[in-house]
Symmetry: C2
Subunit: 205 residues, 2 copies
């Protein structure tokens, strides 16, 4: 369908929305017309929020998480255990681990995983700064919490090699069947790992 926009401004706004991932021309049009029906103040607030974020956002100089300050809330919190560092791909993973309320240490955000197909090499990630952080001596354990993909595994192995000489315990998050999953529908690799990495039963799972 060859769309003929009645207004160049409308076409431009729809075009900008349609650049977002997962948003096509039709959805973009719906979103723009929705905003157009709102008060000017609402539209200004929307436009300013994203521009202000991009302009003023900082990245924590310790863990590289998004932050409003030079050192993020987590890294500057004296109640967190600074001797344990959880290595994650991105900000969303920090939020996901935080939501579990099972981890009281600090994070290190790599900014991705090694992926030659996408042109992402070790130097594009915050790996050097992780090594430096470990070499400073206060970190006792590094937990690798990357995706269970080939790229994640490659990155895990790269970090393992880089930290081989450092006096630090290196662990990886457990892989196994999800809580609530049935054995029958679990893929054999995951099930196999679940069996190999079985833990002592203590009455509760």
């Amino acid at each position: 369908m060859n769309q003929q926009y009645p207004s160049a401004l409308l076409e431009k706004a729809v075009g900008e929305f349609a650049k977002l991932p997962g948003i096509g021309k039709k959805t973009a049009m719906r979103l723009v017309l929705h905003l157009l029906r709102q008060d000017s103040s609402v539209v200004e607030a929307f436009g300013n929020a994203i521009v202000t974020l991009k302009r003023e956002v900082k990245y924590c100089k310790v863990c590289h998480n998004i932050s409003d300050t030079d050192t993020c809330q987590l890294c500057s919190n004296p109640l967190r255990d600074a001797s344990t560092v959880c290595v994650v791909e991105n900000i969303r993973d920090v939020m996901a681990v935080e939501a579990t309320q099972q981890f009281k240490g600090l994070y290190h955000v790599l900014g991705g995983v090694i992926s030659p197909m996408d042109g992402v090499g070790p130097s594009d990630l915050q790996i050097e700064s992780l090594v430096k952080r470990v070499e400073e001596g206060s970190v006792k354990e590094v937990i690798l919490a990357l995706s269970s993909t080939m790229e994640g595994d490659t990155t895990n192995f790269y970090i393992f090699r880089k930290l081989a000489k450092a006096n630090v315990k290196l662990s990886v998050i457990a892989r196994g069947i999800s809580i609530g999953d049935e054995l029958e529908y679990t893929d054999e690799v995951t099930l196999g790992r679940s069996i190999v990495n079985r833990t002592t039963f203590t009455g509760t799972v």
Copy 2:
């Protein structure tokens, strides 16, 4: 899941995106992080496009369609047939009819349909201006192209009553089974209308 945002600016931007229809917190986060990875110029262009649209958009004083000028491209085009006016709900419907390339007349954008449930009465729509436009005398036919819903039918009937005394032909777009549809799966009301409003077969459908 209780989300703990690492940055108030991030939370605000995600909140603004999540206000859009059909966009939840997770999608909002994905969109914001996508924009954050882009150049500042891209983000500024995005933010400005929607704010500029809201600030500078005009509505055609004849047909009330969105326009960059006081009178829209369609209404100011001398090649269009000004004696036929197609009444539609909104801008998207203008674009949908235009995309068919089957209509060479002008439009009249109501801005919605009469819907007491949503608090939309006749005075909230561009019905008075349609009546005035018809009374000026150059319109020969008004085509009602509203949604085939109770609200659309109510609005059709309201306009029919309002234009009863005017010397104008009033027609409504054909309802029937869609091109490519099978009879078996067509609802009986639509199929019934298709039979009642059958047209003479001339070799092509």
